[in-house]
Amino acid sequence: MPEPVDGNSLAGPFSELFSADLTTATARCLGCGDVSELARATVYPDPTGYVVRCGRCDDVLMVIIEEPDSIRLELRGMSWLKVPR
């Protein structure tokens, strides 16, 4: 069965969206306040996208849906995202 993987695996999909490497960005979880690199998040891969959950509390940080002509990014569970320059 597909098992959860680490946030670092999202570097490819993120590379279609951002010029910075978002896996090294830090996010604050709205649920538990944990501050971690997205590389440390837990990712549930799905052929149509990814559910990215907090590595500490499992709350949903973000959802990525790959539609045929676009990528939808929902950032429901993070209060901020800090991207290294």
Partner: protein, 265 residues
């Protein structure tokens, strides 16, 4: 370019140009390169390594990965991520792939791909699970099965840069036949210490019985947490989760433990 410094009254062109040439991992946006298979090598009964020439790749850091895209003649496409076993400035990229029997891409890469074939690669990707030759602290590598691939890249980078950072590797495999890069890892390498762990069948006379990796293995063979090593763990999800939990129990700072789990898809 220094000219951008003129837009700021206190702009120091040197500082700005330094930021522009900072030591960031190479990361190229969404671009697919065409790679040509140079050679393949059977590593295990289910896995092989693949060397590709990828014009425009421009090199990668040890531990980065690439997305591989295959396109069928009717336009159908499939994309999967693979760790890169090579590191350095070259356009030559080595991947190593284990076959998932129910997979869509890995059986093609392991069984069908021939020298001269073309496929597309995106990357190098990921600036987190990487080791740079400028790092001087002790490094503990822990790999399970084909999870050795990014760790081999780190070992190669360590050797190529003549780094004296102490490296240790714990490599867990079912049997000795299932080890990727076996002969390379058995060769004595300065500042590298390798511990083999067998989970199904041990070589004749091997002192440790076949067993999954345990806290006792980590306590016996890994760098102690008091040395604050950088720790890289890669393998199947269950392996990585067990090891990461045990490392924290042994006092390792979770912030110094980096993991890369690959799912079973």
């Amino acid at each position: 370019m220094a000219t951008r410094g003129s837009s700021s009254a206190i702009g120091d062109p040197l500082v700005i140009s330094e930021r522009e040439t900072r030591d960031a991992p190479p990361h190229r946006i969404g671009l697919w390169h065409v790679g040509v298979v140079v050679s393949t090598h059977t590593e295990t009964p289910t896995g092989r390594s693949i060397v590709l020439d990828v014009p425009g790749w421009g090199g990668n850091l040890a531990g980065q990965h690439a997305d591989v895209r295959l396109t069928a003649s009717d336009g159908y496409q499939a994309v999967r991520s693979y760790s890169i076993a090579s590191a350095g400035d070259s356009d030559r990229v080595e991947l190593a792939v284990d076959r998932f029997p129910t997979g869509e891409v890995s059986p093609y890469l392991v069984d069908d791909l021939l020298p001269g074939d073309e496929l597309e690669l995106r990357g190098p990707l990921g600036g987190w699970f990487v080791w740079k030759p400028t790092q001087t602290e002790s490094v503990q590598l822990i790999g399970g099965g084909s999870g050795i691939v990014p760790l081999v890249a780190m070992i190669r980078s360590h050797t190529d840069s003549a780094s004296t950072a102490p490296f240790r590797l714990l490599y867990s495999v079912r049997t000795s036949d299932d080890a990727f890069f076996r002969s390379e890892l058995e060769r004595p390498t300065p500042h590298l210490d390798v511990t083999w762990l067998y989970t199904r069948r041990v070589p004749h006379g091997w002192p440790r019985p076949a067993a999954r990796i345990s806290l006792a293995d980590l306590a016996a063979s890994a760098f102690a947490s008091s040395l604050s090593p950088a720790v890289f763990v890669c393998g199947p999800t269950g392996f990585v989760e067990t090891v990461a939990t045990d490392l924290v129990a042994l006092g390792h700072d979770p912030q110094r433990v980096k993991t890369e789990r690959f799912g079973g898809a």
